[in-house]
């Protein structure tokens, strides 16, 4: 209606501008009135014309938007054309690049059209992990403050047959390729195959990156028996297949690695490969709760050979470690109130059999944890730990933790953990550590998938 108003205003202005001149002419009042009447008539005609044209335009616009023009019957469905959006120049996301955490649909292009190659850039994100510690720990001390890890992730689809994921961690000791692998999604027989360096499918905690854990640390059993923070993380090939059955989700994974994983496995020659097998069963109990069970096995050569006393016969080089694991996770999350309440209970038990020059060391360890979501932003949890030492089965550490986590948003979290650990440093000699640990975690970049 702005146009009509403008026309009216200009005509009125014209009338006013003309009026003094006609008045100045000092013609008869009769002629003056006639002139004014004529002007009024002209103005009315003009107003009518503009009004008609505007109505016609509005009708056209409404039809183009797929809506019904005011007061008119809706157009037949076939006429409901797609909306004519006055959009900026757009580029379509390349085929195959969608969904993998990447954008979908039309993308705005920045700069010239030649820059559309930017949309092939991988999804990037950086997750910062800042740790603080207070209290006393004589056995395994961590610094008062550290930028523990900055994890850079680069993820994209390679071609119609595969995608690639890289996770590079920048820590206090330098840069490490935490994971970098190719996933082949199109292999026949339903085989999900990964090639590269990856966290092995041994149990649950071993597969998880630091920022997904509900604690600031990793359980004692991981530290003592499964290679510490990095765990079984090695270059190799992984094949996973779903086992069809009428009852549950059942997935079998077989992995072959080079045989070097921290202080757990050490490969002295090319044939010293390490292996991981994992069987996972999952079942929904109700729509809000489910149970996840896993059985794991792993075997590899350990570093005893390099530390064996001089003169050890060559056959004694062949020291291996075998690990057996059982994990169970119970999850509860009411669908309608999933933003506010949830519970995850988890346990893992691991049995280690390590050959070494002093004889076979057979020991085990476990943790039990529970995490409850109190509200949209608050989580509380507890964990109990117990684990033998891989190299000396006579020593057993125990520990317990309470954790509270606050989420300002989906992209950052603040966590405090009270941890008490009893380290058995020599038979029946226990060193206790009481610590308060803090953590800030923050993520920038592409929106990653929520862990399950």
């Amino acid at each position: 209606m702005g146009a009509t108003r403008f026309v009216c205003a200009s005509v009125v202005a014209g009338v006013i501008a003309l009026a003094p001149s006609t008045a100045a002419a000092q013609e008869s009042p009769q002629a003056l009135r006639q002139e004014i009447d004529q002007l009024r008539k002209d103005f009315e005609t003009l107003k009518q014309q503009y009004g008609d044209r505007l109505t016609a335009l509005e009708t056209k616009l409404a039809a183009a938007e797929g809506g019904s023009p005011p007061g008119a019957a809706p157009p037949p469905a076939a006429a409901a054309a797609p909306p004519a959006q006055a959009a900026p120049p757009v580029a379509q996301v390349p085929a195959g690049a969608e969904g993998a955490g990447g954008p979908t649909g039309a993308l705005p292009t920045y700069g010239s059209a030649a820059n559309s190659s930017k949309i092939f850039n991988p999804d990037m994100a950086v997750i910062g992990d800042f740790l603080g510690a207070a209290g006393k720990n004589d056995v395994n001390p961590s610094p008062a403050m550290e930028m523990h890890e900055s994890e850079l992730s680069l993820q994209a689809v390679v071609d119609p047959y595969a995608r690639a994921d890289f996770f590079i961690s920048f820590g206090e000791e330098g840069v490490d390729l935490e994971e970098g692998f190719l996933t082949l999604t199109e292999l026949p027989g339903g085989l999900l195959t990964k090639v590269g360096k990856m966290r092995a499918a041994f149990g649950k905690v071993n597969t998880l990156h630091n920022h997904i854990l509900t604690w600031t640390d990793r359980p004692l059993v991981t530290q003592n028996l499964v290679g510490g923070e990095d765990g079984i993380d090695d270059a190799g090939i992984s094949v996973a297949r779903l086992i069809p059955n009428p009852w549950i989700f059942l997935e079998a994974t077989g992995q072959v690695f080079r045989g070097d994983s921290g202080d757990l496995y050490k490969s002295n020659k090319r044939s010293d490969l390490s292996y991981v097998g994992h069987l996972r069963g999952y079942q929904d109990i109700t729509e809000s709760s489910n149970l996840d069970l896993g059985f794991s096995y792993s075997r590899g050569h350990n570093n005893s050979a390099t530390t064996a006393p001089a003169g050890t016969p060559e056959s004694m080089d062949d020291f291996t470690t075998q690990l057996y694991g059982i994990d169970a996770t119970f999850r509860w999350k009411p669908l309608q109130r999933s933003l506010y309440h949830s519970f995850v209970g988890r346990t893992e038990w691991i049995w280690s059999r390590r050959d070494q020059p002093t004889g076979l060391q057979s020991t085990d360890g476990f943790y039990v944890s529970g995490d409850y979501q109190l509200g949209r932003r608050w989580f509380a949890g507890a964990r109990f730990d117990r684990s033998g030492h891989a190299t000396d089965a006579s020593l057993v550490d125990t520990g317990g933790s309470f954790v509270i986590t606050y989420w300002p948003s989906e992209f950052s979290q603040v966590r405090a953990q009270y941890r008490r650990t009893n380290y058995e440093t020599a038979p029946s000699i226990v060193s206790s550590a009481n610590e308060l640990l803090f953590q800030f975690q923050f993520s920038i970049g592409a929106h990653g998938a929520h862990p399950f």
């Binding site: 938007e65 797929g66 809506g67 019904s68 809706p74 037949p76 469905a77 076939a78 409901a80 797609p82 959006q85 900026p88 085929a95 195959g96 690049a97 969608e98 969904g99 993998a100 954008p103 979908t104 649909g105 039309a106 689809v157 119609p160 995608r163 996933t183 999604t185 199109e186 339903g190 085989l191 999900l192 297949r241 779903l242 086992i243 069809p244 989700f249 079998a252 077989g254 490969l273 292996y275 097998g277 996972r280 999952y282 929904d284 729509e287 489910n290 999850r331 669908l335 309608q336 109130r337 999933s338 933003l339 506010y340 949209r376 948003s409 920038i444 929106h447 998938a449 929520h450 399950f452």
Partner: protein
Amino acid sequence: MKRYLALFVTAFLLAPVAARAQGKLNVMTTTEDLAAIAREVGGDHITVEAIARGYQDPHFVEAKPSFILKLQKADVLVVVGRELEIGWLPPLIQQSRNSKIQPGSDGYLDASLQAAILELPTGQVTRAMGDVHPLGNPHYWMDPENGKRVAKEIADKLSQFRPNDKAFFQQKLTDFNAKLDAAEKGWLAQMAPYKGTKVVTYHRSFPNFAERFGLDIVGYVEPKPGIPPSPQHTLDLITDMKRLNVKIVLVEPYFDLKTPNSIGRDTGAQVLVMPPSVGGVKEITDYFKLFDYDINLFLEAMKKVGATK
């Protein structure tokens, strides 16, 4: 070690390849709204199932392995798109071992590509704005005109997979459009007296609904998308609502009602739990009933508001 390898290989070989029924096309959708529309155009020639429930926040669905099994057997996957499912769908598709529904494949249908999308951000987008959707507001199905566009996309996709049934799907589409046109006329007539009514919503789930039916959304209970209500924002909102005389607060079924209710008490506004999806409440069993229910809920509330004036 060979023993164990052999065991795995045997396990793989013994497992029979899942026999797929060649009859009906198996369609999976991410939400119940898309499933409802697919059911309208696919009729009894397809089977349809949705991953997320209608009373669930579609941004936060858990990527449960049981969904992997369902996706593994799907012929077509229809997604809302616009990054609505970004937090949970990619890992499910990746683990589905189903090449037909990988993004970019024929069986992957992004239903948003022809829809009228609102709130496309212009200029710099940062997370200081909250959990913004850089590709526009994904709640577009709340406009029946978009419902028709989605229906056409789905009908075309079904016809592509089952060329012999093309006439059937096109007929179902024509029927659906005619029925929806008639229903929409009724809804618009019912809503016409309330054109321009100012409302506040919890999350930005209703812009398409508001635009189609003439509501004026003047504020949100969330200070920013995905950020829970803060005391200061709530106070500001109450002041604004009193100044603008806002009498309606719309809340999606998955949000806590504590803050909306206290806003309602302070301003005398009606707090309506308004499902933005099919299945949001038991009564909403199809796409038509979604609008029937929501519009009825609004009209009832307006009567009460009118009575208290």
